[in-house]
Subunit: 418 residues, 2 copies
């Protein structure tokens, strides 16, 4: 069952029968091209059609939907795709959920060659399974991989494999409103050799976890602590990539904020104390401007994660402004800005009554309203309606309508039955 262990450790172990089969299968495939550079690499490309499926012979019963805790339960199957610098991508395997077995010298345990994505599969009103903008996740996953010398791949191939995995574990997608199957693709370096160097072995894997709604009992706005001494990202750093190494350093600042009564960190940057992100989400601020409203989010300046929800909100807002898809509950006179915004501008807006709304944006919650920001010992108060402001609410409704296929939209991708 644990075939994975063998391939992940193949530098030290006897060849796996799967590898041999894969090698034969790939003899007829064409030379692949690097999806980032277009260069011919001469290595086997990621080929969804080569997938080897091993059904679980001990399928489990998903836990009751009301008992779900985020990221604590996992579905019956997972996807594993080993990569080696000499051969390229090995044949993908869908197999029973099982531990990874890795040499203690594997680079993942020492130098954090590690990236991940967060996606969701939804059951729509007709029982069809849907993904939301998976191409965006594939694009970012490749960008992250290139930044830390991990292998890149053709995103369409991985989407095809994820669809197959999700279809197999369709019974794990809770159908209650607000529930979904959280999909976690990850890519890690696995070479068993110390020394900081580009890894010769890697493993791409995907696991799935049934999750409940982020807001179980109505919306609860969060309080943020903005401490300019805590810095998430830096120009020339890795803030715009979804790397494992960006996350562990944020845990202590969150614990410290929590001790002072704030749920999350508002990450500031630079002497002007620019707003960047909130916790592990992108950030939006709405300001009154004359008789209109400006919806502001920090620009993709290298320090901001290019969030799928962030991008979706920008598109929805722009389609409202252009008249392509107007939304009644959004302000008539709306301006959409990707621009720097400092904490001082936020404080000024609070004082002049022009601070309308603030919210985080991300895959887990879609939107996360903010009602308070602590900065230099004082709290900035932010309107948050009955727990959520009107702009965040409009975005949440529009995005979940698309995710659940209540309205037809190119962002929602139907998973065909297999």
């Amino acid at each position: 069952m644990i075939t994975l262990a063998r391939t992940a450790l193949r530098a030290r172990a006897a060849p796996s029968p799967f590898r041999h089969a894969a090698a034969l299968r790939f003899q007829s495939t064409s030379v692949s091209h690097d999806p980032m550079t277009g260069e011919a690499t001469g290595l086997k490309h990621l080929d969804a059609s080569a997938v080897v499926v091993t059904q679980s012979n001990a399928p489990r019963t998903p836990p009751p939907s009301q008992s779900l805790v985020f990221g604590a339960n996992f579905s019956d199957h997972m996807l594993s795709i080993p990569w080696n610098s000499g051969n390229g991508w090995d044949a993908p395997k869908i197999h029973p959920y099982s531990p990874l077995q890795l040499d203690p010298s594997a680079v993942i345990f020492h130098y954090a060659p590690s990236l991940f994505e967060g996606m969701k599969a939804y059951k729509d009103v007709n029982g069809k399974v849907r993904l939301f903008r998976p191409d965006m996740n594939m694009k970012r996953m490749n960008t992250s991989a290139a930044r830390i010398a991990l292998p890149t791949f053709e995103g369409e191939q991985l989407i095809s494999l994820i669809k197959k995995l999700v279809a197999m574990d369709k019974g794990w997608i809770p159908s209650e409103p607000g529930h979904s199957l959280y999909i976690r693709p990850a890519l890690i370096g696995t070479e068993a050799a110390l020394g900081v160097h580009p890894t010769k072995d890697a493993l791409l894997f995907v696991i799935c976890s049934p999750v409940g709604p982020y807001y179980k009992t109505g919306f609860k706005p969060v309080a943020l602590e903005a401490d300019p001494n805590k810095v998430r990202a830096w120009p020339g750093g890795t803030g715009q990539y979804k790397l494992g190494g960006n996350y562990a350093p944020g845990i202590l600042p969150q614990l410290e904020a929590a001790r002072r009564g704030y749920q999350q960190n508002l990450w500031l940057f630079g002497e002007e104390h620019w707003l960047t992100e909130v916790g592990t989400m992108n950030l939006f601020v709405a300001l009154k401007k004359g008789d209109g409203v400006e919806l502001v989010t920090p620009p993709l300046n290298g320090m901001i994660l290019p969030g799928v929800t962030r991008d979706s909100i920008l598109h929805i807002a722009k389609d409202h402004v252009s008249g392509k898809y107007p939304i009644d509950s959004l302000p008539k006179n709306l301006t959409v800005s990707e621009r720097e915004i400092s904490i001082h501008e936020v404080i000024k807006a609070e004082q002049s009554g022009e601070l309308i709304e603030m919210f985080g944006a991300g895959t887990a919650a879609v939107v996360s309203p903010v009602d308070r920001v602590g900065y230099k010992g004082k709290d900035i108060k932010i309107p948050a309606g009955d727990g959520i402001g009107p702009i965040a609410k409009a975005m949440l409704e529009r995005i979940t309508d698309i995710q659940l296929g209540k309205v037809e939209h190119e962002w929602s991708v139907v998973v065909d039955e297999v």
Copy 2:
């Protein structure tokens, strides 16, 4: 044999017999105190006397010393110490070198809760085994752990366990000049649960790798590329901690430098283009000042790793200056400075003939001479004698003399036979 797998995965698996034994053993121990804060934690502390030893029943023959590649071979045994937030440190285990088995949702694969140390064991002229300043590694390991919400421990306990491990695998320490046993302690978060949060499970492990001399065929100075757009660390970040997440992002910049003929990166910081570190080493620059010499290294300002070799070089230089231990080959009129130094100051010193020497400092090579720095399309040329300058050479000789017990020094710690 793979008892590790069971404890690392204990959240999902049946209790291991080792855990039960450990629980009984700890009933009589006192409540531990957090080594960082001094607070009583109520959790079991790391207790070297509770170690459970399982000898390998298939000991291997170490590879011939001349064939050694850094970090590619590992000794017969390893040390594993699981930790859980509810119980504290479990009983340490010395056992045959074996894979780690972890759930694919384990936090180490997603958020990089990961730190490590680099140490060496040497065989001295009398066949005794020696460590070099292990207390410094323990101190830094605890500082790193606290920064990413991993558990801390009493350093003396881990030193005692490392001594035991090294004594057991004494046959793996090559005795040829310049050879040693590289010791790699690592601490990783292992909880099987997605979501960015303080891990409830962790694993401290130590593996050992026989290594040859860094300079096999004489000294080879390296060329560095100084690109101000590549940033290793920043204020409020994690540059001063030995975290896994600091290392993967450095791989691509090194590959890019190599493509242009430079072996390593000289990491600059800020608008003044301050020198910070070189590759994964600390940095020293020697400048002529009047009729004397100034030895400069960047100060521990939060962005610089507090290297053991860096600290040792500073002590040796200061002892020379104070007359406590003068070294003939060091300049008579020496000044030792921990201060900021910009690339512009280095260029100016080159032009005025006052640039004497530059070298990296770290555990792997002790010193690594630099003879060229590329900056904005031009090369700064740096004297490097016959491959190594006089100051780097004096430091290398003094440190290796202490490491090998050729001179008595408190930094060298003898491992008693067990």
